[in-house]
């Protein structure tokens, strides 16, 4: 592939114009290079976070192969999951026979503690009834009568991967949690990470909450599934949220949701239906968002913020001040999931960076309003514009007609960054072209230090590689 920024072609020139941008934005039906995928992918991630849980896709086997390949490329870990391999006959007669046989084989072979079942669009279109099929599987003794199975409908033609995560999580609570026992609580704070593909972020949440002296359960907890030690032995199931703690979830002292938009349905269920004290915070990216997270913990538990975290905060602030000159006044374009974008934009505003184009392929109106309010809260936010439901080809037009200094997002943005001749700071999901980025946290004070360093050093590296010889000096 020729580097587009170095090519001459009349169409390429036209593609960089305002006129093209207008045509591009007039699109109503075609989607090109979207920053979102389908529901069952998020459901799989959620299922991988429960101890001894086998994700089970009711639908076509090809979907399972795709989800597994995709996640495994990002985390460089095995991703176990089965499907019941529905084919043309199931399309005609329904998928019950596949589901029952699939449960029987999966249970006998992989010996899971629980199965979390969700659907591909094939099963959704033909209208399969998971609840009655699972009941029939028990009646036919394909699985023991008391074997725990959670299920969720995850149609690919509504919502996105974050909706699927939410649906599966709610499905787990509805299927496998014991009823709430009045006012008694188990004294545990349930921390819900949301659609989170940085195992290092999950570890950071656990470390910070534990440092506060709070007794917690991570739900779900795919940390080890996404980053397990190499011991020379393969274990199909990595430790996740213990089943007992899932069962006891509705007796929690409270729930804290680390992402809002990937947990909407679960929040409603926990807060409005179960009446459990719960809070949803902006993803704690950057100093201010992390402050807000800790203050929420204080509010919920009455615990104090320990000296250890305060010192850490001080180090993050020190890093921000030390490096501010490399980020201040720089213009950024960003894309990704709503929660990630809210966190990142807050972080940029902390640093004096200027968020300009904010593309959210799976954003909704509440997200737009929240993002606009955030931008209005800072003098650095006035150039920022939110593009809900747009894709990376729209963003390409934005980058070429209204240039910025850096693109922030996942690896799928590498082509448009190259076309616009700007660096890409890789943040979010999907990062298959760099190693171990998911192993560095981007949340909490430590995450702030990591992000500041990454962004500042990319700018400095770019300058070192491209500056005139006479400006190539030792000090930066």
């Amino acid at each position: 592939m020729n580097k587009a920024s170095e090519c001459n072609h009349p169409i390429l020139d036209w593609m960089a114009t305002e006129e093209y941008k207008e045509k591009n934005f007039a699109r109503e039906a075609l989607v090109i290079n979207p920053a979102r995928t389908c529901q069952p992918f998020g459901a799989m991630l959620c299922a991988l976070g429960i101890d001894g849980c086998l994700p089970f896709l009711h639908g076509s086997q090809g979907c399972a192969a795709y989800f597994r390949s995709c996640l495994t490329r990002h985390v460089r870990e095995p991703v176990p999951m089965v499907s019941d391999s529905m084919t043309e006959d199931a399309a005609v007669f329904g998928g019950q026979a596949n589901l029952i046989e699939g449960l029987k084989n999966a249970y006998a072979t992989y010996k899971p503690n629980i199965i979390a079942m969700f659907t591909s669009c094939m099963a959704e279109v033909i209208g399969d009834d998971l609840k009655s099929f699972i009941g029939n599987a028990r009646n036919q003794e394909a699985i023991p009568a008391d074997f725990p199975i959670a299920f969720a409908n995850t149609p690919s033609f509504t919502g996105s991967h974050i909706t699927g995560f939410d649906n599966m999580l709610k499905g787990l609570l509805q299927s496998l949690s014991d009823p709430r026992q009045g006012k008694w609580t188990n004294g545990r704070l349930y921390v819900v990470p949301g659609f989170e593909l940085y195992p290092a972020n999950l570890r950071e949440y656990r470390r910070m909450v534990t440092a506060m002296g709070i007794y917690m359960t991570m739900l779900p907890d795919p940390t080890e599934a996404m980053d397990s030690p190499n011991t020379g032995e393969y274990k199909m199931y990595q430790p996740g949220t213990p089943l007992a703690e899932l069962a006891d979830a509705l007796n929690a002292s409270g729930f804290i949701f680390m992402q809002k938009y990937s947990t909407v349905g679960t929040q409603k269920f926990v807060k409005n239906v179960q009446k459990i004290a719960s809070e949803a915070v902006t993803m704690p990216i950057g100093v201010r968002n992390t402050d807000a997270f800790l203050m929420t913990l204080v509010k919920m538990t009455g615990k104090r913020i320990p000296a250890e975290l305060e010192a850490e905060r001080g180090r993050a602030v020190d890093a921000a001040i030390d490096a501010h000159q490399y980020i201040h006044g720089k213009r950024f374009a960003l894309y990704g999931d709503p929660d990630l974008l809210l966190g990142l934009v807050g972080f940029l505003l902390d640093m004096g960076g200027i968020p300009v184009h904010i593309v959210c392929s799976n954003g909704n109106e509440p997200f737009r309003k929240e993002m606009e309010a955030l931008l209005e809260s800072s003098s650095f936010g006035s150039a920022g514009k939110v593009y809900n439901g747009k894709d990376l080809w729209h963003l390409r037009s934005l980058l070429l007609t209204d240039p910025v200094d850096m693109l922030i997002g996942d690896s799928h943005g590498k082509h448009i960054a190259r076309d616009a001749n700007i660096p890409l700071a890789r943040v979010g999901y999907f990062l298959p072209d760099r190693v171990h980025m998911h192993r560095q946290p981007i949340v909490g004070y430590q995450g702030a230090i990591n992000l500041i360093s990454m962004i500042a050093n990319i700018f400095i590296d770019e300058y070192d590689r491209n500056c005139p010889e006479e400006n190539f000096e030792l000090l930066r």
Binding site: E28, G62, C63, C121, P155, D419
Partner: protein, 477 residues
Amino acid sequence: MGEKPNSSMVEEVLSVYPEKAQKLRAKHIVIKEECSTCAIKSNMKCVPGLMTARGCAYAGAKGVVWGPLKDMIHLSHGPIGCGYYSWGGRRNLTKGILGVESFTLMMFTSDFTENNIVYGGDKKLEKVLREAKELFPSVQGFSVCSECPVGLIGDDIESVARKMTKELDVPIVPVRCEGFRGISQSLGHHIANDAVRDHLLGKRERDDVGPYDISLIGDYNIGGDAWASKKILEEMGLKVRNVWTGDGTVEGLMTAHQVKLNLIHCYRSMNYICKHMEETYGIPWLEFNFFGPTKIRESIREIAAQFDETIQQKGEEVIAKYDPLMQKVIDQYRPRTEGKRVMLYVGGLRPRHTISAYEDLGMEVIGTGYEFAHKDDYDRTFPEVKDGTIIYDDVTEYELDEFVDRLRPDLVGSGIKEKYVFEKMGVPFRQMHSWDYSGPYHGYEGFPIFARDMDMAINSPTRALTKAPWKKEKEVR
């Protein structure tokens, strides 16, 4: 070193399954014995609930066959996911300006919503095609690759394609590759071949045909493989008019009926079109193998034999030029790879085609198998393997884990879904679909890279770190 493949091992591994699954799976695993014929069952439904590596018809049609064809837009028609997962997931390299001359690295979808499921997606499809043609005026055509819902809701993409072909004046090819069709990628390959046959092949004529014109078929240019193969063929004096479909063009496919010989690399995914061209246009086809110097040498001679003495002479010159260079590669790596045992589990052709390349390095393939092969693939595989080799078809992840754990090969070559399982087990691994982001592995250009990569996997010092010094009592395998 582990056990040798044996039938009681297989029985023991399968014994964990419920009875029906046990019976079904037993037909797909054999150990080659002296004079044994190819008795393995293949191309059958996966057993529900067992972890298969197989994909679907869409993956075979859009992901494998159509995707690499660069100057066409391949529309993932249906919900968002299928296009997303197959976006950039195969390393089909292309030359050309992105968005102008090549669209392979981009993802186009009609992004079905609930509304489209309820009221049908045909109108949306028209609109999508119009918008795409307007934004990408240089596009040479479209394939409409159907995802599951399209077939289930009864959309008529064929008539939309006919209408829009006229309106937009580029070929628009309906591809009925819904994921529920068939039992693996394989039917998708066939459907895609048929779509090429019906909508592109023979639609244009070129006036500069020559006696040495050939097509390179079933090479998807993973990591530049097709370029490495083309290099040899062109040094032999042949003219590679088009590649199906790695770095391929619509023009190339349309005029492919005018070549003198079809060379087929991946038999599984493209034999259909070769047989069609033989029947319809009388073009002979020949399978060849450019993995490792032994097979390259044999293949060059077989290919040259189809042509006159000029080509045969040049073929010998190519062999004479490269053989000493390949010997150097062998001399460099073989001391470290000699006697190492390999197990393979891949798709298309690699489970048999790469065996000889390993043997060139003194290695021995003790197990091999295919995700979606048919009987004719296994017929071609049995002669390539030694007695005592275990052959497994659509092996489940559990079976493969168990076989590898018991047989303890020095190297496993398989796919991304398998990779990290074996890395955790402490068994050296190379991805043999994507070349683990390396390559090319084809041709004389590829073999030195192949040899380096296999040596690197087997002899990396990193695995020696696995055992913590305070855990001496436990042997890490």
